[in-house]
């Protein structure tokens, strides 16, 4: 039987706010345990939550970015359960009325062995605001468990998709796209190691062609795309084998073990808590008016999808180039800055995606850490365009710029990389080369095209690479044919 995997994602994105969602405590990561736990964070008797407007702004930004319905009125609810890292004994979340309703996100699924690259639109069911829990720390004190409430109350936006994905590749492409988007619009720092972006993946399988959903298992807390890919692949295979062996899938929450590459059930949903959701009487319904949306909309940067389209129309870039350059806001900004500083768009695209990105990768640097500014890169590209230097020489200048050896023109001067474009000088070189390579000239005249290229090479060599190759070509052709 042919099987089809059905995947939906729930992503917890930590929102980039200065303070917690319902209190003024700081959200900075990595502080000493419980130093960022105010009376609200530790749920002292009598404390009350006050909604952080910055968190609401983040939710609106996200809603606008995925073209979602933003609820004019949404409601905070209490999700009741006991756990030591949940100080109030309930989590404030949104249940029946989330702030962000149905939206969509278009993903690019890269080519694989069997498929071409393709685009697909994933439907987003909802996104809601809620607070994060604290952390249990085991083993810090012998025989005891500690509770760190620094994270308790950190704002989260939980983003839930429809079960629209049909492969691990699609799920990962979605997660990456979402990861890129939330950073693009500035609502999440995207740091997966620190838990700022955590995915729960619901996986089920069904006979291909069936329109009935199989029983799902939820893989919890995946914090790397690689693990996500591995976990989904393993889980899918496990479910298929279980069904083919005549078994049944039990709805369950599973954890992925990166060491073994396996998923294992944590607890079955049958024993799951009854969370006894009800509207939180301490908080008023969240009201978002049209003018709130308009205000936030004005703060929103141009979105990747729009920018991609603009790159294609304004700069005549290929859709591949446009997509690559909009894979992060920093990259797109750098490209635009290079073009705005006078570089040719196509050339800028090639350099930004090519040498520049390669160098960043090699040195594991962020764009913000690049020693080479967009203005410098543009200056370099202008010197190629105006024939001051050749492409080859440009690579040397690029390295020197990266090493901080000064400005473009000074480097060209210092390294003597200026291209020779003086016709007289080039003719002199050609004459010399022709005189010394009579054999090649004969071969060319006998019809061997290759010999021409070899002669060009000799001329370039004689000029120590400084001759303008196009001019060498033209003049040599004239000489030999003329």
């Amino acid at each position: 039987m042919q099987w089809e995997v059905v995947i939906g994602l729930e992503t917890h994105t930590q929102l980039k706010t200065n303070t917690k969602i319902f209190s003024g405590a700081s959200t900075t990561y990595g502080a000493e345990p419980n130093t960022q736990a105010c009376e609200v964070s530790i749920a002292l008797p009598g404390v009350l939550p006050v909604l952080n407007k910055q968190a609401v702004e983040c939710a609106i930004k996200f809603g606008l970015a995925i073209e979602a319905e933003i609820a004019p009125r949404s409601v905070f609810a209490r999700k009741n359960y006991f756990y030591p890292d949940l100080p109030k004994g309930y989590q404030i979340s949104q249940y029946e009325l989330p702030v962000v309703g149905k939206g969509k996100l278009t993903i690019q699924v890269p080519a694989s062995k069997n498929t071409e690259a393709y685009e697909k639109t994933i439907n987003i069911t909802r996104a809601h605001l809620e607070e994060d829990a604290g952390k249990s720390v085991h083993g810090a004190v012998e025989g005891m468990s500690g509770i760190d409430l620094n994270r308790a109350g950190t704002p989260l936006l939980e983003i839930v998709t429809e079960p629209d994905m049909r492969s691990a590749a699609e799920a990962v492409a979605y997660a990456k796209k979402l990861h890129e988007l939330v950073q693009w619009i500035g609502i999440c720092d995207g740091n997966m190691q620190e838990g700022s972006f955590r995915c729960d993946v619901n996986v089920s399988v069904r006979p291909k062609g069936s329109d009935k959903l199989g029983t799902r298992r939820e893989i919890k807390n995946l914090n790397s795309f690689k693990f996500m890919q591995q976990a989904i692949e393993y889980e899918t295979q496990w479910q298929i084998e279980t069904l083919e062996d005549g078994g049944k899938i039990q709805q369950a929450t599973v954890l992925f073990n990166p060491d073994t590459g396996e998923t294992r059930a944590m607890r079955s949903k049958e024993e799951a808590n009854d969370y006894r959701y009800f509207p939180d009487p301490d908080l008023l319904p969240l009201v978002i008016r049209e003018e709130d949306k308009a205000r936030v909309s004005a703060l929103l940067p141009e979105l990747p999808q729009a920018l991609q389209t603009r790159f294609i129309t304004d700069y005549q870039l290929s859709s591949y180039d446009a997509s690559t350059l909009t894979s992060s806001k920093a990259l797109a900004d750098y490209f635009v800055a290079t073009v705005n500083a006078g570089a040719d768009a196509k050339q800028a695209a090639n350099w930004v995606m090519g040498a520049f990105s390669a160098k960043l990768n090699a040195e594991d640097k962020l764009i913000s850490e690049s020693p080479l500014s967009a203005v410098q890169l543009a200056q370099l590209l202008k010197r190629i365009a105006d024939n001051t230097i050749s492409n080859n020489a440009a690579k040397q200048v690029f390295e020197a710029l990266w090493a901080g050896e000064g400005e473009v023109d000074a480097i060209i001067e210092a390294k003597g990389l200026k291209q020779v474009s003086d016709t007289g000088a080039i003719e002199a070189i050609i004459n010399e080369v022709l005189a010394q390579n009579q054999a090649m000239v004969e071969e060319f005249k006998a019809g061997k095209e290759k010999a021409f290229n070899a002669l060009v090479g000799q001329c370039m060599k004689a000029s120590k690479g400084k001759a303008n190759p196009a001019q060498v070509n033209d003049l040599l052709k004239k000489k030999l044919l003329g």
Binding site: E39, I42, A43, L44, P45, G46, V47, L48, P49, V50, L51, R78, N80, F82, P84, P87, K88, G89, Y90, I147, D274, R276, Y277, F278, P281, D282, L283, L284
Partner: protein, 489 residues
């Protein structure tokens, strides 16, 4: 001195006829003398109290005096007060010292008032007799065999026995007004949202409201001036301009100061279940109001009988969640020995909470459970809106509604302790205003068999100033509010 009004005390302090230290010591002396019998206070700290009195005198010496500067108040033990044991009447918090101040405490501190101590209360404000307190019952100063009402029983007894100049209370279903009725003084539950709940230990968040418990309407007005006001730390706090709740009191003079006032009498508040002696006192008070110029309108609040069942779904639902934080993990009571986390939770909560609190947690957990939520919680919310609509309709015909505060006078300790439903019926006339978020008041209107009877006033939203005027007018021509229990002079 112990019978002086807040205004009189303020004048004496301002004119230096008396110092705050002297006044505070006088009350502390009475507390030392009578509290062992009455058990109104459960936390006293002479060091803090006297330091506040000295600070108040220093402030008065500079001339920077506010109306309540230097006056000693009792604070219900539901308000967190920095450095004070704050127990909410529970074993669960018997060892809890608050590290911060509730908004109400901050407001009293800001005007230089003195905190005499924390008053006894039903555990987590759940009760109508103060008998659910972990720290023991409170005696009704009018008859030590009887309860003072609840949940603000300690504050009530402290006011009635003149163990403070006045006190604070909180009212979720009648916890200021019913004890005011049973102990014979004036208590006001303001419009929901008028006094910040920040730092006030939550029972049922959508119903809880703090208010003054004092000898007279005038005292209540002066306290409201301090207690009410927007607080951004409470999302349900109402952002309205400050008002002077005493502004109309001086106009309540002459023959018919209430001419034109329409008083609504809901027929449901005078039906079966109301003690005849109480009914008589209330009718006499209404007659007095007619003399003051008011006209009487017969009205109906048709959903009155639903308010108790609705309340006993909603309040426990919210309470079951509000009380989840008492888990033995971070503060408060934790059991001595336990095997694992679940065992620790279960034992700590089983040992830390009393029977009434557990009963309400069970009810609340049940009504919120999957499969029951719609039938109980949602239904109750719908009826709650109908109850509020009853009042909206009623206030089209009248300006203030009057009736009994409680169905009977103070009952004997132990009399209803084993019959929760009989106990719940104590709040039959007060709960509806909490459900609707409306202000309610109880003022002393006379006695039945030697025990005080309260008249309840219910007003429209934010109509506290008018209610205080109406109460004050009555207190200008009657002296019930000045009566004091025998043996405590």
């Amino acid at each position: 001195m112990i019978n002086h009004s807040l205004k009189q005390l303020g004048q004496m302090l301002a004119s230096k006829q008396i110092s705050s230290v002297e006044l505070t010591q006088a009350f502390l002396k009475r507390i030392t003398q009578h509290n062992p019998d009455i058990n109104a206070y459960i936390a006293l700290d002479e060091t803090i109290t006297m330091a506040q009195a000295q600070a108040a005198d220093a402030r008065i010496a500079t001339g920077n005096i506010a109306p309540l500067t230097g006056i000693p108040f009792a604070q219900k033990d539901i308000f967190c007060a920095k450095g004070w044991k704050t127990t909410c009447g529970s074993k669960m918090l018997a060892n809890f010292t608050a590290p911060y101040d509730a908004h109400v405490i901050t407001q009293f501190d800001a005007v230089g008032a003195v905190n005499l101590g924390k008053t006894n209360m039903d555990e987590f404000a759940m009760g109508s007799s103060n008998e659910t307190s972990y720290f023991g019952g409170v005696k009704n100063p009018w008859d030590f065999d009887r309860v003072p009402g609840g949940s603000s029983g300690g504050s009530a007894a402290a006011v009635a026995a003149r163990l403070c100049a006045a006190a604070t209370g909180t009212d979720t279903g009648g916890s200021i007004r019913q004890p005011a009725s049973l102990c014979g003084f004036t208590g006001l539950k303001p419009t929901y949202g008028l006094v910040s709940r920040y730092g006030m230990i939550a029972f049922a968040s959508s119903l809880d409201q703090a208010g003054p418990m004092a000898k007279s309407a005038e005292d209540c007005a002066l306290m409201m001036n301090v207690m009410a006001g927007f607080d951004e730390r409470d999302s349900t706090s109402l952002d309205r301009p400050k008002e002077d709740y005493a502004r109309g009191l001086a106009n309540m003079t002459g023959e018919q100061p209430l001419k034109g006032l329409r008083i609504g009498l809901p027929k449901e508040y005078f039906a079966e279940g109301l003690d005849a002696g109480v009914a008589k006192v209330v009718q006499d008070a209404i007659a007095e109001y007619k003399k003051l110029g008011a006209t009487i309108v017969d009205i109906s609040l048709p959903n009155t009988q639903l308010s108790i069942p609705v309340y006993y779904v909603l309040a426990p639902a919210e309470a079951s969640s509000n009380l989840s934080r008492y888990d033995g993990v971070r503060y408060g009571y934790r059991t001595e020995e336990y095997d694992d986390l679940m065992d620790m939770y279960m034992k700590s909560r089983a040992e830390g909470f009393g029977a009434e609190v557990k009963r309400r947690i069970l009810i609340g957990t049940y009504v919120l459970s999957a499969g029951y939520y719609d039938a109980y919680y949602l239904k109750a919310q719908q009826i709650r809106r109908l109850i509020a609509q009853d009042f909206t309709e009623a206030f089209k015909q009248c300006d203030v509604i009057m009736g009994p505060t409680a169905p009977s006078t103070a009952f004997k300790a132990g009399e209803k302790a084993d019959d929760p439903v009989a106990m719940y019926l104590q709040d039959v006339y007060t709960i509806a205003t909490n459900l609707a978020g409306l202000p309610g008041m109880s003022i002393p209107a006379g006695f039945s068999n030697g025990l005080p009877v309260g008249l309840q006033l219910m007003g429209n939203y934010f109509d506290e100033a008018r209610m205080l005027d109406v109460a004050h007018a009555y207190q200008q021509v009657t002296d019930w509010h000045t009566r004091m229990p025998a043996g405590l002079e």
